[in-house]
């Protein structure tokens, strides 16, 4: 019966965990925008042949100005770096993102305080920065209001904090600044960009949008063979699909484990029932002697095994639901896992399966009881 309990509790908890994780993943990727497409410099074999051209502002402009085919909601250049932020006595190394003012909308972020920088700031290479919640936590004790207007050092230069971002669970340890400022004060590199982020108009237009980007850039980079392109175009949607696939496989795997433990539980039930039937041999003989048909004896013992399994299943449900709710209220994730999302369907399924296990594994012992010859059963000591 312990096996049934564990199996049922496991199914419920694991389905809940699985649900929670995929819900969280979905949430995160959706919040990042499933319409987002990233263009990066290729890291494949083409790169080693020396023919790669980096992505540049001109590429960005080309994308922004092309009017053929599906429209882009936005085209955002991104330059990445790493630097140490300093304020009074606190130091914190964080990721630096240099980008245009479209960054805010393209990456689906909102302001917790202050304002994002403007086109003007980009044009004048103004030393302004928008901090993510992690640097604010480290330098200003989490008080966004205190951060506004302050001057901090980024690398060797002073920057003014003009805004603070609302956390999104994925990119909270960053500082965003005008791309021009990144080039002038932090990393240099002329007019190259590390990444171009294109926002498609909808999930449906992502594939044709990706095709358009590839076409434009192949043209610009004078590449005629798609296999030879020196850039990569990737969409968040693909990423989501890949994650979902992995999580599905994982869930299946965990399901199999739960199924095995239910099976083991079933064997346990069968053993208990076999012992019970043997111990009650005389009783079975008496019942047959006073008129019990085979079916009546069969029914009697099947009901017992189903009830036995059902009780185990019920306890498993209580344990599984309890652990899931506990996990949920403990709120924060255990490392990688998101808080479990209880699924009523899994509870019903697991409990029903436990009853079926009782029926299936109780059949053999019940049959043995039904087939006993009354005279032999009565003589049993």
């Amino acid at each position: 019966m312990l096996g049934i309990m564990i199996g049922v509790a496991a199914v419920i908890l694991l389905v809940a965990l699985g649900n929670g994780t995929s819900a969280r993943l979905n949430e995160q990727i959706t919040s990042l925008g499933t319409n987002l497409i990233g263009v990066l410099q290729s890291r494949g074999s083409v790169a080693t042949s020396g023919k790669t051209q980096p992505l540049t502002d001109k590429d960005v402009k080309a994308l922004q100005q092309d009017t053929q085919g599906p429209r882009f909601s936005s085209v955002t250049p991104v330059k990445q770096a790493s630097a140490v932020l300093a304020f009074q006595n606190s130091l914190w190394r964080t990721s630096i993102v240099g980008s245009s003012r479209e960054y805010l909308t393209a990456f689906h972020r909102t302001m917790a305080a202050g304002n994002f920088y403007t086109d003007g700031d980009v044009n004048t290479s103004n030393r302004v920065a928008v901090l993510g919640p992690k640097p604010v936590e480290r330098l200003f004790g989490g008080r966004s209001v205190d951060a506004l207007g302050q001057t901090i050092r980024i690398g060797r230069q002073s920057f003014q904090v003009v805004g603070v971002l609302v956390p999104n669970g994925l990119n909270d340890d960053i500082a965003v600044m005008p791309i021009s400022a990144t080039r002038n004060y932090l990393v240099g590199g002329g007019d190259t960009v590390d990444q171009i982020v294109v926002e498609a108009t909808s999930q449906a237009t992502v594939p044709p949008t990706m095709n358009k980007i590839t076409r434009i850039l192949m043209d610009r980079h004078k590449v005629h063979d798609p296999d030879q392109k020196d850039f990569e175009v990737r969409s968040n949607l693909e990423l989501l699909r890949q994650y979902t696939q992995v999580s599905d496989v994982l869930t299946l795997f965990l399901f199999i484990i739960a199924a095995i433990s239910l099976f083991v539980g079933g064997i346990g039930i069968m053993n208990i029932m076999l012992v019970t039937v043997t111990e009650r041999t005389r009783e079975i003989g008496i019942r047959k002697a006073v008129g019990a048909r085979r079916k009546a004896i069969l029914k009697q013992f099947l009901i017992e095994s189903v009830v036995l399994a059902g009780v185990g299943g019920l306890i498993g449900v209580v344990v599984g639901v309890g652990l899931s709710l506990l996990g949920k209220t403990l709120g924060a994730s255990f490392g990688q896992f998101a808080p479990p999302e209880l699924s009523a369907g899994s509870v019903v399924l697991a409990f029903t399966v436990s009853l079926c296990v009782g029926l299936f594994f109780g059949a053999y012992p019940a049959n043995r009881a039904a087939r006993m010859r009354p005279i032999d059963a009565l003589r049993y000591e």
């Binding site: 002697a289 008129g291 019990a292 048909r293 085979r294």
Partner: protein, 253 residues
């Protein structure tokens, strides 16, 4: 009512063969009260088990109310055991974890009868145990358990009552009561066959069949000297016509 024709029961114990019953012929009419007697190992219990459809003969026929029992399937046999036959076992065979009244109810349960509790309670009252209905068997004396077993055998109002040493554990008062009850049942039309080793009890029966080594060696069709109760008038009325079985000189006990 009951006909055994050439019934033989053989047990194989390894290489050896044990003939528990050897070519037994016996006919019992409806309403007869028959006592089966004989030393240990004479085949009495084996014969009762066959009569009660709990066991089947190795060869020969058993006709119950004209029907050859070997033609019946398992479900039909179960029905016969539940409705047509009432069996009182020597070791009572009560369910130890259920109360007396539920024990008595058991045959009714399997014959799908309504108002079981009422009928079971009535049967218990007939054996004088109405006040012990809720007791468990281990809370009852041997004699009381015996009476519960009898009540259970009677609760379906079967045509045939088979009793294996029904007074084996009873004192003389209780024994007498049970014996008189059996006579009453027989007078009311039921066929009663009982195994006993006490001549006192056997004397209540109109007919005594003696077994030895699996064979019928004596069968008194007629009335006995020490009849009690309503037996005397039966003796006068029926004379010797109850003895359809083999009539051989009585073997002295």
């Amino acid at each position: 009512m009951i006909q055994l024709e050439g019934v033989t029961k053989v047990y194989r114990a390894g290489a050896a063969e044990v003939r528990a019953l050897d070519n037994v012929d016996l006919t019992i009419k409806a309403g007869e009260l028959v006592a089966i007697m004989g030393p240990s190992g004479s085949g009495k219990t084996t014969m009762m088990n066959i009569l009660g459809c709990l066991d089947s003969p190795t060869s020969g026929r058993y006709l119950l109310d004209g029907i050859d029992v070997s033609d019946l399937d398992d479900d039909q046999l179960a029905d016969v055991r539940g409705r047509k036959i009432g069996f009182v076992f020597q070791s009572y065979n009560l369910l130890s974890r259920t109360s007396a009244v539920v024990n008595v109810e058991l045959p009714l349960l399997y014959s799908n009868t309504r108002s079981r509790r009422t009928r079971a309670a009535a049967a218990l009252a007939e054996v004088g145990l109405a006040d012990r209905a809720e007791h468990l068997p281990n809370e009852l004396s041997g004699g009381q358990q015996q009476r519960v077993a009898i009540a259970r055998a009677l609760v379906t109002e079967p045509a045939v009552l088979l009793a294996d040493e029904p007074t084996g554990n009873l004192d003389s008062t209780a024994s007498g009561e049970i014996a008189r009850m059996l006579v009453k049942l027989s007078d009311a039309g039921r066929t009663v066959v009982l195994i006993t080793h006490e001549t006192e009890i056997a004397s209540y029966a109109k007919r005594v069949v003696k077994l030895l080594d699996g064979r019928v060696v004596a069968d008194s069709g007629g009335p006995d000297k020490n009849r009690h109760g309503a037996g005397d008038r039966d003796a006068a009325a029926n004379g010797n016509d109850a003895g359809d079985g083999v009539s051989v000189t009585e073997v002295a006990n």
